[in-house]
């Protein structure tokens, strides 16, 4: 059974419908539509400045859309939506921050609430389960600020999952990671999508690390988007239409290389190796 067929019958978790975001005269998102289902692993691919973070902020309700609608699990998206777990981009904590990996995960339960929390055995056990689910038990007692980039990502994923969301958004979780850590994070997110039936949407400027596990790709260029399976989207004709000029898609040793026209600011961004990316 193909990934698309397997996911085909599942519940629709996120529906983005004709979203427009205009900042001044600049159209950051221009009629973006796509939908993802429970258990699906979706990559939001685009160069820096293509509008990935803006799209996430719209889904989270932090940036208002000028037009269109976002629905989460069938309902209108609202702020403080417990159905969405979020892993932000560029997470850097001071090494002196008095916060163990275990504490950061537990903050995912109810740290948005005011007042005093009563520590309980159930909370500790829940945090323990989540740490185990992301293979983070080994460094659960260490300060988050002293963990490596890949370890921090896993702890943040556990933090986002502990509230039992239906949708997990991760903004550039592979930026600044070495190749091996990036592979581990991708495999972990794919496993979470399958086992917990969560819709996972992660943004990346490099498509190759996601290719082995991706059910669906949303390709974003200059504020416009196409979505479908990787075979349907990552093709010369489809991407040429999206970019508005000719784009070559090369397959080299199982890797995909997208070469946009010379002189474009997007040109050849997929050619760089992930470990050399700044992720800015």
């Amino acid at each position: 059974m193909s990934p698309a067929a397997r996911a085909g019958s599942a519940e629709e978790i996120l529906a983005v419908e004709h979203i427009h975001v205009q900042l001044g005269a600049h159209m950051v998102l221009d009629d973006v539509s796509f939908a993802i289902r429970a258990g699906e692993f979706t990559g939001l691919i685009g160069a820096n400045g293509a509008g990935k973070t803006t799209l996430f902020r719209v889904v989270l309700g932090l940036t208002p859309a000028s037009g269109g609608a976002v629905r989460v699990a069938g309902g209108a998206r609202s702020r403080r939506n417990p159905l969405i777990g979020y892993v932000p981009q560029k997470f850097l904590l001071d090494p002196d921050m008095p916060l163990r990996a275990r504490d950061l995960v537990a903050l995912g339960i109810d740290a948005h609430r005011f007042g005093i929390a009563r520590p309980s055995r159930a909370r500790r056990e829940r945090a323990e389960q989540m740490l185990a689910a992301v293979d983070a038990l080994e460094f659960a007692e260490r300060r988050v600020g002293l963990l490596s980039g890949g370890e921090q990502q896993r702890v943040l994923i556990a933090h986002a999952l502990i509230g039992r969301p239906r949708l997990l958004l991760a903004d550039e979780p592979l930026a600044n990671l070495d190749l091996r850590s990036a592979e581990e994070v991708v495999a972990l997110l794919a496993r979470i999508a399958r086992e917990q039936r969560i819709a996972v949407l992660i943004s990346a400027h490099e498509i190759n690390p996601l290719l082995p596990v991706m059910d669906r790709v949303v390709y974003l260029a200059a504020g416009r988007a196409v979505s479908g399976s990787a075979d349907e989207v990552v093709r010369s004709d489809v991407l040429s239409r999206l970019y508005g000029h000719h784009v070559d898609v090369l397959h080299v040793h199982g890797r995909v290389i997208v070469v946009a026209g010379a002189g474009e600011d997007l040109a050849g961004h997929e050619l760089r190796f992930p470990e050399a990316e700044s992720g800015a």
């Binding site: 403080r80 948005h112 260490r142």
Partner: protein, 312 residues
């Protein structure tokens, strides 16, 4: 017992009303400062605390000029400064240090004028020392209810907002996405900080106030890995420094030059500094262990040993 400790506590220490007031007020202030200071250090806002101290200097000296209690002046100017900082968005953009620096210069200029007028009109220079370096042994009885109310208010506010505040400190993006009103929480914290700095200024002086706020907190952050413990440890270290400072200041009455005690703030600030230096030892050890653990994992990777289950 009293005989045994006689060299530590000089004659009359436990009988003096001024000492009793100092011990109680000093402890309350140190608890507030330590608890709030942990968040100040975590949020990288010790500069804002310093600004409240500088602005409080003009507030305190201005209050003396119109016959009000210095604490009222510290507080009013601090709260106004917190409002101004929130308006210019000091918590969001850290590149505003130039404007802040110039504004602080103006505030200290105002303090220079007020202190000049204080000392010429009232014909005393004591007020300058009181404002700048504190006078915990000379706290007026009428100020104590205000101290108690302020300390209780700051602790209460912190109890209410500590979880969203911690989450916004860790990541404003995550907090915002989870519906925390990040800006309101930040502004509330800034107001509490202004009140805490005013209390510190009362005890050890406006320009030394940040030492009590930042020092014990910074030491606690290095010594413990857990947020709750950091708050308790910072409060405990602050109280210890304050009490030890009071004892030494009382004893120093008999030190040279005999008959003139040394200032409490000197002792408190020096003790805080030494505690901070000592806290570097556990922090250094922890980092060394962390590096060793990372190196062990890298070595296991090189040998291809599966040190943890890799998802697949």
């Amino acid at each position: 017992m009293s005989h045994f400790l006689a060299p530590v506590f000089e004659v009359g220490f436990f009988e003096s009303d001024a000492v009793r007031t100092a011990v109680i007020v000093g402890a309350a202030v140190a608890v507030v400062a330590g608890a709030l200071g942990v968040f100040t250090v975590m949020r990288g806002q010790s500069f804002a605390a310093e600004a409240f101290g500088d602005i409080g200097t003009s507030g305190g000296s201005g209050a003396f000029l119109i016959g009000a209690a210095p604490l009222v002046g510290f507080l009013v100017f601090g709260v106004l400064a917190a409002g101004a900082m929130e308006l210019v968005g000091i918590q969001r953009a850290r590149g505003r240090d130039l404007a802040t620096g110039i504004a602080l210069g103006a505030a200290l200029g105002l303090a220079a004028l007020f202190m000049y007028l204080d000392s010429t009109i009232h014909n005393t220079t004591g007020v300058v020392v009181t404002i700048l370096f504190g006078s915990i042994f000379e706290i007026a009885g009428s100020t104590i209810p205000l101290v108690a109310a302020l300390a209780a208010a700051v602790v209460a506010v912190l109890l209410v907002i500590h979880r969203p505040l911690l989450l916004s400190t860790v990541s404003p993006e995550i907090a915002g996405a989870r519906g925390v009103p990040v800006r309101i929480v930040g502004a509330t914290y800034l107001l509490a900080l202004a009140a805490a700095v005013a209390l510190c200024a009362l005890t050890i002086g406006s320009i030394l106030s940040t030492a009590l706020l930042i020092g014990p907190a910074a030491a606690a952050l290095r010594a413990t890995r857990r947020p709750g413990r950091a708050v308790l440890l910072a409060a405990a270290l602050g109280v210890a420094a304050m009490w030890l400072g009071i004892v030494l200041a009382y004893d120093s009455y008999y030190w040279p030059p005999r008959g003139n005690g040394w200032p409490v703030s000197f002792f408190v600030v020096t003790i805080v500094f030494v505690v901070y230096l000592l806290s570097g030892v556990p922090a250094w050890r922890e980092r060394r262990r962390a590096h060793a653990a990372t190196a062990r994992r890298a070595f296991a990777d090189d040998r291809g040993t599966p040190h943890r289950a890799t998802a697949g």
